[in-house]
């Protein structure tokens, strides 16, 4: 019963966070200079009466509560409004692109985790030279995502998955190494090692189960890291995903698309945080 209560409170808080993120996006765009500029006003084919009508329409849409109502109405209809630049329902724009981004993120996070785990496990068990062995990951963290992506294009090798995997892998490696180092030196593991337990058993029976809560938290961090890098990677590699759509919406002040993309990103972060938190069960039990 307590678990259900905790889940309900957390879900409610996440929902509030999502609404606040969407509201923040609307306010940010509403007060951006140039948001209300209408290119039709420069067109000579429109008469003075039509221009006056356009200005009146713009004046009506300046009110924040009007924008909020319009957004809420389009969300209730399920089409998330109409894109200002493409003139099609946002839901159609996001549908196909979300699939591309989800596949890209899933591949990258999986490869990043494999890379980080495969490197962190042996390096954490080393007695010396750990800093030197970790150097490639430290250097990777110091390269901006955009530079890494550009380098891939210039050298004609690798692609968006490689860039995102390297980024996620480098970020996760840093945490995994310190986590596994601590675990490797814990008294019960020293005892198990002294008794000659094989490394595989040590890893799968002792280290990974004990580090599971931190690994769950790290999974959330991986998602946030990959989502953050999604925009430059998709823009530079011209991947038709949500990140590229978000960038295009930002550049063209396309409010309905921007709100939907922000909400989607906040959803992924919020839900990932909700499901990966093991403290949820530990709090309730």
């Amino acid at each position: 019963m307590k678990l259900v209560g905790t889940i309900a409170v957390r879900a409610g808080r996440t929902l509030l966070l999502l609404l606040a993120a969407a509201l923040g996006t609307i306010l940010l765009v509403r007060f951006a200079p140039g948001y209300f500029s209408d290119p039709r006003e420069m067109d000579a084919k429109y008469s003075a009466v039509a221009r006056t009508e356009m200005q009146a329409e713009t004046g009506r849409s300046r009110l924040v509560n009007r924008i909020l109502l319009d957004e809420a109405e389009s969300w209730l209809k399920g089409d998330f409004g109409e894109s200002r630049q493409y003139h099609i329902p946002v839901v159609k724009l996001i549908g196909g692109r979300a699939r591309v981004s989800v596949i890209l993120l899933a591949k990258s996070i999986l490869m990043g985790w494999l890379l980080a785990l495969c490197a962190a496990l042996p390096i954490a068990s080393l007695r010396g030279g750990r800093v030197l062995c970790s150097l490639p990951f430290t250097v990777l963290l110091a390269i901006p995502t955009a530079a890494m992506a550009t380098a891939c294009i210039v050298s004609d090798s690798g692609g968006p998955v490689l860039v995102l995997s390297l980024l996620v892998g480098a970020r996760d490696f840093k945490f995994l190494r310190s986590l596994l180092e601590g675990a490797w030196r814990s008294p019960h593991l020293l005892q198990a090692r002294a008794q000659g337990l094989p490394t595989r058993a040590l890893v799968f029976q002792h280290i990974l189960p004990n580090a599971a809560p931190q690994l769950y938290a790290l999974a959330t961090l991986s998602i946030v890291t990959a989502l953050g890098a999604l925009v430059p990677v998709e823009v530079i590699f011209t991947v038709p995903g949500v990140g590229q759509l978000g960038w295009s919406a930002v550049m063209n002040r396309d409010l309905p698309v921007l709100v939907a993309v922000s909400f989607l990103m906040a959803c992924v972060v919020g839900v990932a945080g909700l499901f990966t938190s093991r403290s949820l069960t530990s709090e309730a039990v």
Partner: protein
């Protein structure tokens, strides 16, 4: 002792960049029309870009602008985070929960996406200096939430410390407690937060610049110089095009090394 080597390296880099800017006969925006995309020569040590501007001078200027901007933005972020964290830690539970919720709203969106959104909504017609100020201001105003959470948990521990209760019992005023006891104890927490901000802000500026939302031309910046790598003709003509990215990675490694070494000392 260990912190001194990266600090010395950083000081040497800053000194080198300052000397380059002072002693060079070219300004960072001067265009040498007779040396467009020139290779390395005694006149232009690391060649010129597609507009004939000296690359060494531009990289030196980008380094100084980046470090100055990131330091100022880092200081503002740390101040905001300190104020926010302290306010949340020393308020009643309802206000603390509200403040934490506000920071969570900022953290619910990926940082680069949030930065991109905020930066792109700045005025479209702005001078290069204004774009530089806007870029670093956006970084400063959006970089505080994670830092504030760290300050909040540190300040909570301090609030419940025995010497704090003793101070209250002795009749010290809130202002006295803050100035004489709390802030000196918070300093070891704030310094690493400030140092962590520096490489994060430099990387963010470079990423924003590469998306066309960074510092405006002709002011040199890491992001704008990364865009040079898009020009394949230039990449073929000279390997010096890679100088900005190599130097940026070196600067970031030095900053990372300073922050990781200061943290355990703190």
């Amino acid at each position: 002792m260990k912190v001194r080597l990266p600090m010395l390296l950083m000081a040497l880099l800053v000194l080198g960049a300052s000397l380059t800017l002072t002693l060079s006969r070219y300004g960072y925006s001067f265009q040498d029309r007779d040396a467009i995309q020139a290779a390395s020569s005694p006149l232009h040590w690391s060649g010129t870009d597609e507009l004939g501007r000296d690359r060494t001078v531009r990289v030196a200027a980008a380094l100084l602008i980046g470090l100055t901007g990131a330091s100022l933005a880092g200081a503002i972020t740390t101040l905001i985070a300190a104020a926010f964290g302290l306010l949340a830690a020393f308020s009643n539970r309802a206000i603390a929960a509200l403040l934490i919720f506000v920071s969570d709203v900022f953290l619910s969106l990926p940082w680069l996406f949030l930065l991109m959104m905020a930066r792109s909504l700045m005025p479209l017609t702005a001078s290069p200096l204004e774009t530089a100020v806007a870029t670093f201001l956006v970084l400063a105003l959006l970089g505080w939430p994670a830092c504030a959470r760290a300050v909040y948990s540190g300040a909570l521990n301090l609030r419940n410390a025995e010497w704090m209760i003793q101070g209250h019992a002795c009749g010290l005023r809130k202002r006295q407690l803050l100035r004489m006891h709390l802030l000196p104890h918070l300093r070891p927490l704030l310094l690493p937060q400030f140092l962590i901000c520096l490489p994060a802000f430099l990387i963010a500026e470079a990423n924003l610049g590469a998306l066309g939302l960074g510092i405006g031309e002709p002011l040199p910046s890491w992001g704008a110089m990364l865009l040079e790598m898009d020009n394949s003709a230039m990449l073929m003509s000279s390997h010096w095009v890679y100088l900005p990215i190599i130097l940026l990675v070196i600067v970031l490694l030095i900053l990372e090394s300073i922050s990781t070494q200061v943290e355990p000392h703190a």
